[in-house]
Amino acid sequence: MTDDRRLLEVPRGPARFGKKIGAVRLPPLPPRVTGSLVVAPAVLLLVFLFVAPLAIFTVYSFYKFSGNVIIRQFTLDTWGSLWQSYYFRISLETLYMAGWTTLFTLLIGYPVAYAMTIMKSDRLRLALSVIIFMPLTVSVVVRAYGWQVLLSQAGPIPAILSKIGLHPQLLFNLTGVVIASVQVLLPFAVFPIYASLASIDGSLREASSDLGAGWMVTLRRIIIPLSAPGAAAAAELTFTLALGNFVIPSMLGGGRVLVIPLVVFQDTGTTNWPVAAALGLVLTAGSLIAVALLNRIGR
């Protein structure tokens, strides 16, 4: 084996690896061991920061909150209470918000990513990706304030819309939350879609055209089906990020868009940790189901 030969060679080659004299070189570790060493930090992080908290949440969700104290006894009361119409409504509102956000982010993000793949100038493509990426460098809080200004009744966007006879209420409702969320999440959709579009062999587009298809037919029958995995990945990212979104609904919802993260925050504040934990688990479950469904579509 090559490993054995290397062991024999090492002492003869002075100063080839490491120190000259006195240093005993250890034989290289087998790949399986080095492999597990490399992933160890990630695994540790995941266990301490995700698996363990999840376990703690699960335990807490089986306690209950009563008379302003947490009663640390196993009970199904907390889970039972989630069947109230109040929690049903906020769950539905959360799904609604994340769903619309995902839909619009994809509808805007896909054409942008497609444009990036067909443009001939590399410089233009770079400029476009910088423009898409740059907002990520600005805090979400700052951007939410920006949207408050833009969408408020006295702001520029309602002013423009009123010129064409439209007077929609854009701020402190679901519309405003979705608009701002789409802007915040756009880069997370564009880049996975772009990656999958860019990996489509250019000769497929040519072959389609050669066989008589115009660009629309090529897009519909070749490009979109082949980029479905990228679009599904984009949808997964957007949807899960939108589900857990806190800043935007709290700043642009004006208390009228009650989504799970907001309720979790409130309940944590009032030390109703069992309900907060149970809702947190609902959120996680929602994300997992969405990912599983979208993975199926993507394939």
């Binding site: 062999d201 000769s203 497929l204 040519e206 072959a207 389609s208 055209s209 050669d210 066989l211 008589g212 298809a213 115009g214 037919v217 029958r221 070749i222 089906p225 082949l226």
Partner: protein
């Protein structure tokens, strides 16, 4: 209009530049309908660009292209009467064999049932019966090649363009596909324009060949005429194997003043003598002959290739001698004569 008329391709004064580099330079060609025509040249000679201009993927900077009596430059690829078989076949990976072959027909609005039955015929024609429901990834290279062919033929193009379609197949399969392609072309009576860097492919399949270098066409003709009368030293050495003899060597070995004059006059500064037309042996009586020493012998079965050195000079020549079971081969170190009959050597210009 007959296929002979409608499948005619006329290229006139076509040039294409990428930046400052000419990929194709003032090319004019006339390809008859129903012809198997090859564009042959080393990589970077412009043959693929010329094919892409024919298909419409590249726009020529200058010149006109006609298919039949229709001018096609300026028409986008999806409305040209041409179809292309791509180098790496470019099959749609998410579609089955049948769907791939149907694609062109469906796009043109052929009803599903009619398209399917036509596609099935073509799948049978290229020998893939029973594989209609496979995805391209489940097929071998040779099978994918056939799908690409069927897919291109389905749209009933007047001209089929093939971009080194056999390049990524193994040798044995390539030989088999050569024969099948040629058979198919003859049966369909369709014009094939075939791009290759493999002179063997071009020679064995084509009715006519255009040899290209640096974006220009050096010579057009039947394989035999190019082989026998190469226009330049480049063409001579690119098509088949040849000994190129410069004027100094010629003076040393050719006693015939008439041939020497022809070989060295007006820019024709080299003589091309094919390996198989250079004879060697001890009792040689050819018009031109000179003493040589055998350096190397390689036995290839149907022929024996000798590497010989001209006596007293640094010049080495190759001679291919057919092997007919005569057990006695020359050996390295043997001193013999080499030479050729008048007319076997052709003067060529440097290039």
């Amino acid at each position: 209009m007959s296929l002979r008329e409608s499948g005619k391709v006329s290229i006139s004064g076509v040039s294409k530049r990428f930046g400052k580099v000419f990929a194709v330079r003032e090319v004019s060609l006339s390809i008859s309908g129903g012809e198997f025509f090859s564009l042959l040249g080393p990589s970077g000679c412009g043959k693929t660009t010329l094919l892409r201009i024919l298909s419409g993927f590249e726009r020529p900077d200058e010149g006109t292209i006609r298919v039949g009596d229709q001018r096609v430059d300026g028409i986008p690829p999806n409305r040209r009467p041409t179809a292309m078989v791509f180098q790496r076949w470019a099959l749609f990976p998410h579609l089955t064999v049948l769907e791939n072959v149907c694609y062109g027909l469906r796009v043109k609005g052929t009803p599903r049932r009619a398209a399917s039955s036509r596609a099935s015929e073509l799948i049978e024609l290229v020998g893939l019966t029973g594989l209609s429901d496979r995805k391209p990834a489940q097929l071998s290279g040779g099978q994918q090649q056939r799908v690409a062919l069927a897919r291109a033929l389905a749209t009933e193009p007047r001209v089929l363009l093939l971009d080194e379609p056999l390049g990524s197949l193994d040798l044995r399969l390539r030989d088999q596909m050569r024969i099948e392609l040629k058979r198919l072309q003859r049966e369909l009576g369709m014009t094939f324009v075939y791009v290759t860097h493999d002179q063997g492919e071009a020679m064995t399949m084509s009715d006519n060949v255009a040899v290209m270098q640096d974006g220009r066409i050096l010579q057009v003709g039947s394989p035999q005429s190019i082989y026998d009368n190469p226009a330049s030293a480049f063409v001579a050495s690119f098509i088949g194997d040849t000994n190129l003899i410069d004027s100094q060597t010629a003076e040393a070995v050719i006693a015939d003043p008439e041939l020497l004059a022809a070989a060295t006059a007006d820019g024709s500064r080299q003589l091309s003598i094919r390996y198989e037309r250079l004879q060697i042996g001890s009792g040689l009586t050819t018009d031109i002959r000179f003493p040589v020493k055998v350096i190397d012998v390689s036995f290839a079965g149907p022929r024996v290739r000798y590497r010989v050195q001209v006596e007293g000079r640094e010049i080495e020549l190759f001679a291919d001698v057919p092997y007919q079971g005569d057990a006695h081969l020359l050996a390295p170190g043997d001193k013999v004569l080499a030479g050729w009959q008048r007319g076997a050597a052709v003067p060529v210009v440097d290039s």
